[in-house]
Symmetry: C2
Subunit: 278 residues, 2 copies
């Protein structure tokens, strides 16, 4: 009697998912089986490695709770979140602002801030800065009344949402709007690097693979306007450490900008957000 | 400025694992990234599907505990456990007994049973049977003193280890030895189908993909002898339901046998175990 081959087993498992009533679920499950088996077969996964994987995934689920989501962190540190982001949110239109990961620290309902108004509500040693520019359509037309939803961490490394007993809840976040010529202006601090949570299974994985947990300095921005596809992106400081080794792979060249000292004693950073008509 | 492509992102993530000090860990992680990204890119994974996956994996970790291991069950139902078993335990030698999944119900230290002694210690409505045959080397030479470690479920569907308050702990398990001509004989009941645990995330996955949780009837056997590679396998009853749809993909044609009535009022099943010299 012929022995079953590995390929026959893979084919059998793929076929078993063939009765899945939902066509899209069927497609996703069958592809997942093929790629998962291809991985195990390519590396000749050992019993011990398989068990280490089982234990790693179990620990990743068990450390997660309402606040901490270690599987999202795992997805981020494997670049999976960025791939999904590119698949779903990239534009084919030239010049449109590139998206990047939303991250876990977005809080909806930030306070409305006036043109150039400060969103600093907590004293740290951050360098005061003006981030400004225009919101434009892909053809260069200014977009009036666009919404710029901004959030960033304090110079103490934490976002306000991580320190409810230390920072005011609306520190360093705000909703700005572009004026009639598409201009916007945000008064804030220069962003600083900070570590992703590294005391769990994902942190252990970073150590074992000689990676560090420090994200390069950035502001988060969600830019949107009626009639345009909104974009969730980052503004990275070109003098930040870690730009070449962001643990969540969020850096894209087009998102890196410069903070320069101005005559007013503040740093100034100029960045336009270009939206795709929807 | 050129937009980053999906392939560039995948390459970047693979390269980031390139500093992993342990060579084997580096190989495994880089392959995992390639296959995981290839999956997401092939199916064009949506934001909602990604989040459903995050939530499924989190629930799978959180339902697991010291007794229940839902990630192993997930691996089993994706055929991954069987692939790993084939990678690590298949023999290239013709005629050697094929391995299959160990399963979660193996308990070491079963009682020694004499030749043909019964391992039935609990009354259920199982049909009494003799399972017998020989333990052989791949060249047909009988192996004397081989160890046959056997375990199976009761006709009430449960293994003794699952019902500490109902069944004696050593019901339907035992260690048998082959005699000088390699013969062994086990007195037991004919095995019956039973469901894998289906009240968690894996059960929900089976429902969504129109699969059932019933394993076809089988005995578990670990056969070993000094100087030979041991094998963990199953003996499947050829009249069992579900042979074509084992939820954990453990069935191989060569492991299916027949239970036939004998003059002694018992069922008889003949099966040889053929071991590979190590």
């Amino acid at each position: 009697m012929d022995r079953m081959t590995e390929q026959e087993l893979t084919d059998d498992v793929v076929a078993r998912f063939g009765n899945t009533p939902d066509e899209r679920l069927r497609e996703v499950m069958q592809a997942l089986v093929r790629h998962l088996h291809a991985f195990a077969r390519e590396v000749r996964l050992t019993d011990d490695e398989w068990m280490a994987g089982i234990q790693f995934l179990t620990a990743t689920g068990q450390i997660s709770d309402n606040v901490r989501q270690e599987f999202i962190l795992l997805s981020d540190t494997f670049g999976l979140s960025m791939i999904v982001d590119m698949i779903n949110h990239s534009s084919d239109t030239a010049g449109v602002t590139e998206p990047t990961v939303l991250g876990p620290f977005y809080v909806p309902g930030s306070p409305e801030r006036g043109f150039g108004e400060s969103m600093i509500e907590f004293e740290d040693d951050g360098e005061e800065s003006i981030v400004s520019g225009r919101v434009l359509s892909a053809d260069g037309t200014p977009i009036a009344g666009a919404v710029i939803d901004v959030w960033q961490n304090s110079a103490n490394q934490f976002y306000a949402v991580q320190q409810p007993d230390v920072q005011p809840p609306t520190n360093l976040r705000g909703i700005y709007r572009s004026d009639d010529e598409g201009h916007y202006a945000i008064r804030t601090i220069r962003p600083t690097p900070y570590p992703i949570p590294a005391d769990g299974p994902v942190g252990a994985m970073l150590v074992a693979t000689a990676r560090h947990p420090m994200r390069p300095a950035h502001l988060h921005v969600k830019a949107s306007a009626p009639g345009f596809r909104s974009v969730a992106t980052h503004v990275f400081d070109n003098r930040s450490e870690f730009l070449d080794s962001d643990p969540v792979f969020g850096v894209k060249d087009s998102l890196i900008v410069e903070f320069n000292p101005g005559d007013d004693g503040l740093l100034h950073c100029e960045v336009d957000f270009v939206l795709d008509p929807s």
